[in-house]
Symmetry: none
Subunit: 212 residues, 4 copies
Amino acid sequence: MSSGSTFKRLPRAVREQQMLDAAVRVFSRRGYHAASMDEIAEDAGISKPMVYAYLGTKEELFVACLHREGTRMMQAIAAAAAPELPADERLWRGLRAFFGFVGAHRDGWAVLYRQARGEQPFAGELATMRARLVEVVAGMLDHALRAEGREVAGTELEVVAYALVGASESLADWLADHPEADPERTATRMMNVAWLGAGQLLRGVTWQPPQR
Amino acid sequence: MSSGSTFKRLPRAVREQQMLDAAVRVFSRRGYHAASMDEIAEDAGISKPMVYAYLGTKEELFVACLHREGTRMMQAIAAAAAPELPADERLWRGLRAFFGFVGAHRDGWAVLYRQARGEQPFAGELATMRARLVEVVAGMLDHALRAEGREVAGTELEVVAYALVGASESLADWLADHPEADPERTATRMMNVAWLGAGQLLRGVTWQPPQR
Amino acid sequence: MSSGSTFKRLPRAVREQQMLDAAVRVFSRRGYHAASMDEIAEDAGISKPMVYAYLGTKEELFVACLHREGTRMMQAIAAAAAPELPADERLWRGLRAFFGFVGAHRDGWAVLYRQARGEQPFAGELATMRARLVEVVAGMLDHALRAEGREVAGTELEVVAYALVGASESLADWLADHPEADPERTATRMMNVAWLGAGQLLRGVTWQPPQR
Amino acid sequence: MSSGSTFKRLPRAVREQQMLDAAVRVFSRRGYHAASMDEIAEDAGISKPMVYAYLGTKEELFVACLHREGTRMMQAIAAAAAPELPADERLWRGLRAFFGFVGAHRDGWAVLYRQARGEQPFAGELATMRARLVEVVAGMLDHALRAEGREVAGTELEVVAYALVGASESLADWLADHPEADPERTATRMMNVAWLGAGQLLRGVTWQPPQR
DNA sequence: CATGAATGAGGATTCATTCAT
DNA sequence: TATGAATGAATCCTCATTCAT
């Protein structure tokens, strides 16, 4: 009645965001299981049935959280690591965006991530996100390789990328637990580990297990 | 008549191991929360009260699992990576032992590890183990550094070590999820990432963030 | 259609009273330990979770019963024994109110009282109530004393009051166990014991242990 | 073999006493329900099956405790209050013996008594003991009455006796809770309350409720 | 739209009690 | 005799989820 627009459903969208905010807070504070729908509803300043009406079951709610936070993070990274940049530049910017994001959403995203790993229902959701990251990183490595006229089997690349992503996640955990730590600095450290190691690989230097 | 009775009235030590075996299985199958003491007892072929009598509360039981598996793993690694070996040799053997262990205890240790990360009560226990690993790895790096006449701030070393451990854990997760994968091969890959990257660092090569 | 539905969706205050009623019944029937929350809920015609939601833990529930019944009783006594009356009149009216209350709430209050004495968690709660009663009685005695120009050490008075209260409690137990007995009559008997004995004391008559 | 006596069963009797000692300790420390057979066995320095073999079920064990302590107390009182003494002397000696017993067995008997009141299975046992006491006290009163050429209905006497016993029990509870208090002194106080009140009654002095 | 009222279902934990050695 | 091993049976309590207003 107040505006001519036919949409009067915006409030709903707003409410949903509030709920997700609350859910993220509570899930991160308590962990998935220890979090109760009661607490989430209360933290959102709304009654429980509303939460169910809007976001569905506890599991669905958690997935929604995962989704929103994951998407935000991926977008932050994607926006920073534009494909037209050189590989090292992309990696660096990507890492900086990643750790920046984690630093800014410490108790939120980092703990959500930590939660999702343990609970089977969300393994898939998380694996998908991680796979996207791995793919991106592998792509960077491949790009750099080709630029130097080299080539490495896809599987090989993927495993390396997987390791790099894993290292980053661990440092992110560490960062999330150390409020005084500087995200940018953490990114630099990770870049050192990643790029120097990967760089060697790209150059064909490999370490060989000693013949026993 | 003497050996006919199938499985009854075993000595405590034996039953405790059976229970721990069952607990590891069930925790890894279901996750910490979804696992019920009923199922664990049943899987161990014993009644619930015995579990409580011998291993205590669900939380204590989980800690006991963590402990046993963690100790086994640390011993496997320690036995392989003798301190008198040169640093790269130590690292390599340690990694091989680590991935070998994970490969052999796939559904056990790897998933336990995965569980322990998520649940606050066990964060401490796990952090301790991880810290020991990080310390060992940092020690290797430091050793190698000094052998080359170089030196790096302890904190710096630790962060690198942390990243390497994190990468290894990620690959271990991956290994645990891919029954067909070869532990040794995974170890080799990790060694490549670790040693080449770390090697560069040790030699004073560092990557610098571009001045923006 | 409007008044047809038998018993559903009542306001909280009502349900709480129903639950307390049921709890008093069951606790008195079975004793604190033997009473199960299941039985209480069933007797209240409601599901267990509601009991927990409204009145909390079994212990808290019992305390709530204690509280309600205790308050009711104290009010009954206080209303009857107005402070401006002469001491013997007050004592008499107080006793009459007390035994009247017990007679009317036989299976309720009397047995609750009986329960609370045995269980350590409630000792405090009960001691407080009893202390209030003792204080009131001691006050009556003191008042009467002063009216006659006499004085007795506070401790001494308190012990006498304690004994009188104890005697009343015992008779109350007896009354609770004898449905055919008349509360008023019991009160008269108690008054006889109390007032005559106390009266003597107040007059300075004391009994002395024989020198051995 | 060592002594000629055919009885080699004495050890059993000794063991039973040890167990009862332990049981009394534990029951009084924890209360009937909170006491566990495990703790009792441990406190007795013996294995659980032994306790069952000797003293039977937990309930039976408690009854046995009740019995032993009750008997001891009644004997102490009976021994002190010889029937040939004058009534006041008997009452005084009986009270002194009673409070003396409670003072000496504070945590034992007093708490047992406290326990037995609450639990239905033992109500009977306790009622019997109390009835004996009441009977004895009523007998004293009756005796004194007749000595003065008076007579009172049995019921009436009983109620007065009941009140006196109740008052004594309350003071005993109080005594059990105040380790520094002197049993003899407590007995004197009780005697004052009892004898003066009863004395009046015996003399035909009665208090009458005001005609309303 | 919004909520207080209500519950089914399930999980941890404890104990008295009894075999089998 | 004496005991370590073992369990059936309860009981408390919590939570996700849904009506009825």
